[in-house]
């Protein structure tokens, strides 16, 4: 089997804290994405999912330190200098952000913004060819000529997110990282955008790393899932298996917390108790231990045992 498109091994990130403290934000993330594969990183605020994406993209904030291994097609990304990154970002790896209004330039027509990466990375012979390619991409994501020539504020939220996807595709990336691409959208548009991303992955043989807090929405629209909490992978697996039988107490709690449509007004609700731990509260033990019904002293003191599927001392393999 060939090497995966993206490979991340034992990724640790420390962030600068108050008074010179170092906060251990990512604690040994392993993940890989193959061409044509869709992996979702699922986590709540503070779980480390966005930090993982930023580490992969070489966009961590100043003062952050990274150890581990991040490679794209076998090429080490952690040692790249900024010049080398500029040839890579937007070209081999592209990113779609949560809020399209902040990622799009308000003063430029959508078409011009999609043409920019095509011109920058010299993917078209001339301006008119670049325009043709940009128009074709915008048509592919479902925007017509009039919308292509519009300014971002003239488009709806869903149309803007489509424009942003077209922009990300313009550099013909091998890997697309989408950070909460649907959070700002209505339920129906969320589904449409995720389905579009899935189609594009299949058509272009890209890898997709999808970042989301919404397990229910994402799970049926990706190949594999990794559930993050407190900077660690709590559970991972292929999506249908994990969905059919979540095994980690955190995954189970997250799944049970959703109200079920059709289960009625008086259905029991099972909200998770407590709060997601702040970075400053994380110790060496399992980050979920303070909220976990199964936690023992060992869970508090020692890092969780990872068996390839879940990171947990108490649930037997």
């Amino acid at each position: 089997m060939s090497a995966p498109l993206l490979e991340v091994r034992d990724l640790h990130v420390h962030l600068p804290g108050v008074g010179g403290a170092r906060l251990h934000a990512l604690r040994g993330i392993d993940l890989s994405v193959a061409r044509g594969e869709r992996l979702a990183l699922i986590g709540e605020s503070g779980s480390g999912k966005t930090l993982t994406a930023l580490a992969i993209m070489g966009l961590l904030p100043d003062g952050a330190t990274t150890t581990g291994h991040v490679a794209l097609d076998g090429r080490d990304l952690l040692t790249l200098d900024e010049d080398a990154w500029c040839g890579l970002r937007g070209r081999r790896v592209a990113m779609v952000f949560q809020e399209p209004l902040t990622a799009l330039n308000p003063l430029q027509r959508v078409l011009a913004q999609v043409m920019e990466p095509i011109r920058l990375h010299r993917l078209a012979a001339d301006r008119s060819q670049a325009r043709d390619r940009a128009m074709a991409l915008l048509a592919r994501v479902g925007l017509d000529d009039r919308q292509a020539r519009a300014y971002p504020h003239q488009l709806s939220g869903g149309q803007r997110q489509r424009a942003l996807i077209a922009m990300a595709l313009a550099g013909e990336p091998d890997l697309l990282i989408a950070d909460e691409p649907t959070t700002a959208l209505d339920a129906r548009l969320r589904v449409q955008v995720l389905d579009l991303l899935g189609e594009l992955v299949a058509e272009r043989g890209m890898g997709l790393l999808l970042i989301s807090h919404d397990l229910a929405l994402t799970a049926r629209r990706v190949d594999r899932l990794q559930i993050l909490y407190g900077g660690r992978v709590m559970e991972q697996g292929d999506a249908p298996t994990l969905l059919a039988q979540p095994r980690h107490p955190y995954t189970q709690a997250l799944w049970a917390a959703r109200p079920r449509l059709g289960a009625g007004r008086d259905q029991p609700l099972h909200p998770l108790k407590g709060n997601v731990p702040a970075l400053t509260q994380l110790g060496e033990g399992c980050p979920f231990a303070p909220r976990c019904p199964l936690a023992t002293a060992r869970c508090v003191d020692q890092p969780p045992r990872f068996d390839g599927r879940i990171a947990c001392w108490e649930v037997s393999p």
């Binding site: 709540e44 605020s45 709806s156 939220g157 209505d186 339920a187 129906r188 548009l189 589904v191 807090h213 919404d214 397990l215 229910a216 709690a253 997250l254 917390a257 959703r258 109200p259 079920r260 449509l261 059709g262 289960a263 009625g264 007004r265 259905q267 609700l269 099972h270 909200p271 998770l272 709060n275 997601v276």
Partner: protein
């Protein structure tokens, strides 16, 4: 609804309600009656007119057509002084809790601020502050901190505490869950349902989250492009939707 025969006017009644901004109609001919203790879910996508309806119900703007009645009285026809006197009974919770928490104020001050309109002593206000913090599951010492010192879910609890302070009979909540993590959404959902049961509060929830509407509401109203396409009991609207648009919304979640 079944109380039409009784003499008590409903807590909230909306009839022929419409709104135009400039030449554009954003809401047209909305009717509903909400008896005290019952809750309504307003469902629809961006641009459907949901937030306009919420603002009209709150009397934060005047409609171009129709009436909003609080306990039988047209809020746009009464003198301003009278409307101010009724305001404490109707409160609002926003999607972004910063909509009701001043970032520069300690949160205790934001929570008791709506009480300034009421004839209460300082010690009564502080007692109410402690009560509502407890009601939303926060420690009493939360009052001395600033909004940025809380998580998103805690901030939404604080916004709900502020809305509760005046003992309202109706809370209008505009997408109160959509900025929150899924696990926190469940906590806020459970809190709102508990408040309905314990305090008998009526909610008007504006949401595109159909499961949340099912859990919190008795009645549902589906808006599209400013018009009501379907309304009725929640179990009927979500269980046996008649309008293709409602069916579409439900199918997207399957």
């Amino acid at each position: 609804m079944s109380d039409a025969s009784t003499a008590t006017p409903p807590l909230l009644e909306v009839s022929g309600l419409g709104q135009r901004y400039g030449g554009r109609t954003v809401l047209r001919d909305v009717h509903f009656r909400l008896p005290a203790g019952r809750s309504l879910g307003v469902i629809g996508e961006s641009g459907a007119g949901k937030s306009t309806l919420a603002r009209l119900v709150m009397a934060l703007e005047r409609p171009s057509h129709g009436q909003v009645r609080w306990s039988g009285r047209d809020v746009n026809a009464m003198p301003a002084r009278e409307r101010r006197a009724l305001r404490p009974h109707v409160q609002m919770v926003f999607q972004d809790p910063y909509g009701s928490l001043d970032p520069r104020w300690r949160v205790g001050r934001s929570i008791v601020e709506p009480l300034s309109a009421l004839p209460m002593t300082e010690s009564q206000r502080l007692a109410r502050l402690a009560e509502v913090l407890e009601a939303v599951g926060l420690e009493a010492d939360a009052a001395t901190r600033f909004p940025h010192q809380f998580s998103g879910g805690q901030r939404q609890r604080l916004a709900i505490a502020r809305a509760l302070a005046t003992r309202p009979r109706l809370i209008v909540a505009d997408e109160p869950l959509s900025a929150l993590d899924v696990s926190v959404q469940a906590q806020i959902l459970a809190l709102l349902r508990e408040l309905q049961h314990r305090e008998g509060i009526s909610l008007v929830i504006v949401s595109h989250d159909l499961a949340a509407v099912e859990v919190l509401c008795d009645e549902a109203l589906v808006l599209r492009g400013g018009e009501v396409v379907e309304q009725g009991a929640v179990e009927r609207v979500l269980g046996e939707p008649r309008h293709p648009y409602t069916r579409d919304l439900l199918a997207a979640l399957a």
